[in-house]
Amino acid sequence: MRYLLKKLGLYAFIAWAALTLNFLIPRLMPGDPVRVLIAGSEGQIDPEARDAIAAQFGLTDDPLIVQYFHYLADLARFDLGVSLSNYPVPVIDIISGAMPWTLVLVGVSTVISFLLGTGLGVLLAWRRGTWSDHVLPALTFLNAIPYFWMALILVLVLAVGLGWFPYAGAYDRTMFPELSAPFLGSVAYHAALPALTIVIGSFAGWVLQMRNMTVTILGEDYVSMAEAKGLPGRMVLFGYAARNAILPSITGFALALGAVVGGSMLTEVIFNYPGLGYTLFQAVSAQDFPLMQGLFLIISLAVIVANLIADAAYVFLDPRTRQGA
């Protein structure tokens, strides 16, 4: 378990780095957010309110280190400040309202995309040298399509053109949010198109990685041995080749997840999906800096936790990491 403990330490550090980055960004970026805010308000904010707003930010004249400890103390109390665009709603409340939508949407579509992509990658590797090789350029193209454009096209064809799906929102506005079958059905129905966008936008990457890795692994001696053992092709492929080829996909999860999260944020914007990405977009548009930072922090922490889960899965899948347990 030393491997996992080491990883745990690393992620704890990364989480701390994310906290600190979040603290430093508004203080180190060129331009004073408060001045940007006042300039952006077109005279609606009285320049004399400047100090009050700066205090809201925690941007006081105290030394940086004192500000930092105030910041950490606030965080410990889950106090992320107050939203400026929805004054005086606390940032944490806005985030906790948006969080479940993103967690479910991005979580489910990432899992689907990973399973679909790796499965297809194994299949393409197994059938390499045939028609399947011609699928590769098409997948490369698919992988390069920007999420938001894919979302636009899907909205146009499936929502506007064919009318199969709603093109905005997370549920039917006439319904009252509750834990009932019709409401949950409406949620699933509204999530289908954004989820489809994220899956189509991200699965090709998994396919390409898994295919290349499986092709490489198929050349290993232990795969030859499995073949020589007279095991059925299915067993050789899944028990030996794919079982080993999936390991780099899992360690590469961090990289891919970051891209998926970024892409799904854009997807949320297009679908007006009330998740973290859409909220972040609105916060940036409204120059609601406390909300922006709170969101950045929460998204980073969520990705860190997802990576930790991926690493735990890795320990489960690769006995070599369990050495010295």
Binding site: L10, F13, I14, A17, A18, L21, M29, P30, G31, P33, V36, R128, G129, L136, P137, T140, F141, L142, N143, A144, I145, P146, W149, L152, I153, L156, N212, V215, T216, L218, G219, Y222, S224, M225, E227, A228, K229, G230, L231, G239, R243, L247, L255, G258, A259, V261, G262, M265, V284, S285, Q287, F289, F296, I299, S300, V303, I304, D318, P319, R320
Partner: protein
Amino acid sequence: MSISSMIPRSGKVRAGLVIVAVFVVFAVFGPMVAQHDPNATSFDMLEPPSSDHWLGTTQTGQDVFAQFMTGARTSLLVGLLAGIVSQVVSVVIGLIGGYLRGAADDLLYILTAVFLVIPGMPLLIVLTGYLPSRGLFAIAIVIAITSWAGSARVIRAQTLSLRNREFVEAARATGENRMRIMFFEVLPNMLPLVASGFLFSVIGGILSEAGLAFLGLGSLTTTSWGSMLYFAQNSQALLAGAWWWYVPPGLAIAVIGAGLALINFGIDEFSNPRLRTGSRVRRAAPTSRAAGGDATAASAQAAGTRTADAEPGGAAGAVEPDDADAGEETAPAAPALRGSEMEGSPIIEVDGLQVDYPTAFGDVHAVRDVSLTLRRGEILGLAGESGSGKSTLTNAITRLLRDPARVVGGEITYRDSEGRGTDLLHLEDRELRALRWNEIAVVFQSAMNALNPVTSIHAQFDDVIRVHRPGLSPARRTELATEHLERVGIDANRLEAFPHELSGGMKQRVAIAIALVLEPDVIFMDEPTTALDLLVQREVLDQIVRLREQYGFAIVFTTHDLALLLEISDTVAVMRHGRLVEYGPARETYVDPQHPYTRALLSSLADLGSLA
């Protein structure tokens, strides 16, 4: 293989280069060709493509074609800039960390991990949210800051593996300074990685810029593909059906991204030959050692002459260039084939076998006209230097030849204890699977790689028993596995161990035990002891000989170590350039070698004192 021989052959790379070239032309010349100012509004609002507006107009009457071309310039510029900056950062950080090791590496590794895990797009959005003015350059730098980490990690790993290579050691020994070694010795050896990282950074840069601009967070004064989509989206171009407005920019991003990724395919396939696709050389030969060796064998062979040999009928399709110059072999010697003296019924008969590897330079004949007979209980030692074709021969018999190797002539027959023959080369998959391990088992060259690293020894015994003896209960299967493990001198409590928990010698013995578990008639052992140190080698050999006495299976034992073969084999076959040059009882071959090559091998052994 050189770069020049590879790049033009890959259709994917060619397509990628063409795509990228087209977009570069767009970016450079497009804005000059456009007849309109991309920002000039007009009263031709939302018009479809026409001769005046090649790609129609926007809501405010701007020319989409002019915008598209300007957008190409913006996107490529940002992509290129972000790609260069992020690649420079990742090379410097990866190289320094990987080369210097120690505290610097730890720090840089953690720094890389931080940027790798913190999601780029939100960070990008937050950073640009704070930017007071969003110029192209600032956007590109911010993109680079959020995207260097993945590539840095790859470069660090490669540096770690290169830093102890001979050429780096040599440079260190001559007292070159560290910076010079890093950037002039190590860096040039990972250019494919750097190039591939650069391509992905450019793609990432283009995508990120488009995403930001689409959110209205890009450079507000510059037209880019992303900003086109932003305005198209905001003025309901989709609902208005103005496809000419929103289709070109999105498609362009996808196409250029695919183009860059296609070029990267070429780089990947260059550094990892197994990934190659296409009709001719589908994958590199089973292992590079065999392919490379066979290629040299064949070219040497081409310089030799045709030997007067039996079995002319076996030569189907293998045309020999016998008009070549005189090579190193001055006097062609006839092969000395005395055959096996063993009693007992034949178990494997190879007749006139020919195996070719098609390559870009013509067919390489890896096995030429080989005939031999293995009898029950016999130990046949197959000797020959690397590339002599011995592994290709055994792989042909066990049907483990990998693409592109092809059996182009000859027959291989397996005979069961009643003498019924089975044509091994034309066996259906299902029948072949039934025969495998039941009758023909294999012990691979290096047990380090022959055992599945992620499953336990138990699982690797169990799958083969379960498949071939479906009636056995799990308890009985475990019993069988334990019994065979103990038979090779490994304690039963190691059954649940994973391969990485065993020493090299133990792994090799486990591989032998797995080979024995179904009590096959014949076991192929491909240099089973080469990877072991001498003492362990001896133990394993003794074990093999003892087990043979116990079970009575036949062995085909491949090695380049002739001394070892003569000691344990009943019969010896010596291969050279894909042919059998000597084939006969071990004792006679030792006392009275017929072929000059065998004589040369034996006398070199005598010089070394191996047979003393």
